[in-house]
Subunit: 294 residues, 2 copies
Amino acid sequence: MTISMEEFSNRYKTLLDRSLLSAISKLEAPDVLKEAMIYSLKAGGKRIRPLLLFSTITAFEKDPERGLAAAVSLEMIHTYSLVHDDLPSMDDDDLRRGKPTNHMVFGEAIAILAGDGLLTHGFQLIADDNHLSDQIKVKIISLLAKCAGPEGMVSGQILDIQGENKKMDIVELEYIHRHKTGKLLSFSVLAGAIIAGANDKQLALFEKFSQHLGLAFQISDDILDIEGSEQVIGKPVGSDTGKTKSTYPAILTIQGAREHLSYHIEEAKNTLKEIDLHTSILEKMTDLIETRDH
Amino acid sequence: MTISMEEFSNRYKTLLDRSLLSAISKLEAPDVLKEAMIYSLKAGGKRIRPLLLFSTITAFEKDPERGLAAAVSLEMIHTYSLVHDDLPSMDDDDLRRGKPTNHMVFGEAIAILAGDGLLTHGFQLIADDNHLSDQIKVKIISLLAKCAGPEGMVSGQILDIQGENKKMDIVELEYIHRHKTGKLLSFSVLAGAIIAGANDKQLALFEKFSQHLGLAFQISDDILDIEGSEQVIGKPVGSDTGKTKSTYPAILTIQGAREHLSYHIEEAKNTLKEIDLHTSILEKMTDLIETRDH
């Protein structure tokens, strides 16, 4: 396959966006619920998780579309986590990607329920998919629940809330990120690998890759939060430090955070080499995380 | 099998309660999250949904324990819905079954996350079960997500919130209950039937039975809310009418609500006869709904 990273991203982002909208539009549910779900799904994310899933399938030279249901599910569950994280009793954010957060537009009750709906429907999409075998569906659903649930993302958010206004060391901070964002990023890669039929050795290497990638992603997020311009990243710059939230630059200095970022990028890329498949798009996505400006 | 309804209930409630606690206790998650999840799971529900699931398996003369993972999952997802429904931005309830609600004890953020965790982990338990085939797991997960998600329980809660302080007719009220409580009650019965290997005709009859049972359950709830004593039902009597929420007695009078209740109980029992399996425990559970005082 000779397809540029940009071409690949555009093609599968378009496919994903269309599928997300169609999945919600055809639900038999009250309009306000569907509007609230679509509002946050359309809020213009980078779709990095679905793209990682599609790219991993590509590494096996299989058709990325086989992962479409899992990718749509993944983006719904990522979006649910953002909607709930933004709530007044959680991070209390008014803006997300430059737009009013879900509860600012629809109110808290609808926002909570839209999140609940996205999370629940995510599981249904995988179960109802026409392409995957039952065995693969069960594996993916189990992994997704583990990565998103009380042993994964939910734990990360609990610890993040408890860590607010508390000075953390790098070990505590990393533990939070491994759960809050890392687990679902790992799922993105592992689900792609499972769908493509990876063996255990390949799965272990993809997991290692995804863990470095996830930490790199979070560190670059923290750096951007200090250095990015508000217009580009869509939320007030320094909003995290304003709440004296622990961040990589706050603990390691900006220079230390950059070194940490480089380390994880390099480890991720070394792991890709070890995997020894057609990982050129995953390599380019890894590079992008190092150099991204939003 | 000659086992009394009471014996059956006690045996499987004990099994369920033990399994619920064990499923949460062994999670690698922050203590406060596990405590919050366990707090609401232990809040003393009647476990009617799991018991319906077990009883339905019994109707086929199969071992009810085959449905244990689904029953635990079901109770977790029912409990998540209670935790979220009680939140200040939703029904704003301070008490549930005579005890402070989850957010009153743990705060709103933890309560939302405990709910999210229960919902997500529920799906994992079915996927990870050792007894069911992948085909049955996928069927049950799909049905559970449909019954609990935006086409089921979540829709019911949206319409319930929108209907507050609004005069509803019986059609609107029934639509809400069919979604808010009815879908998950139907799942209880249908999941048991699927696990026991029901054919399509049996599934259709069990669905009809469960729909009448679900409405009967809701009507008796509304009647109890007016007639029960606060001590017995564990929340302030008349708390629903206090908010001018539409209820069956409010629309139909108490006498009309009782007739409606009898109609659905009779239809449920007629359907059980038509099913022509070993449904004696399901019959007794149906009778209990008509005569329950809490």
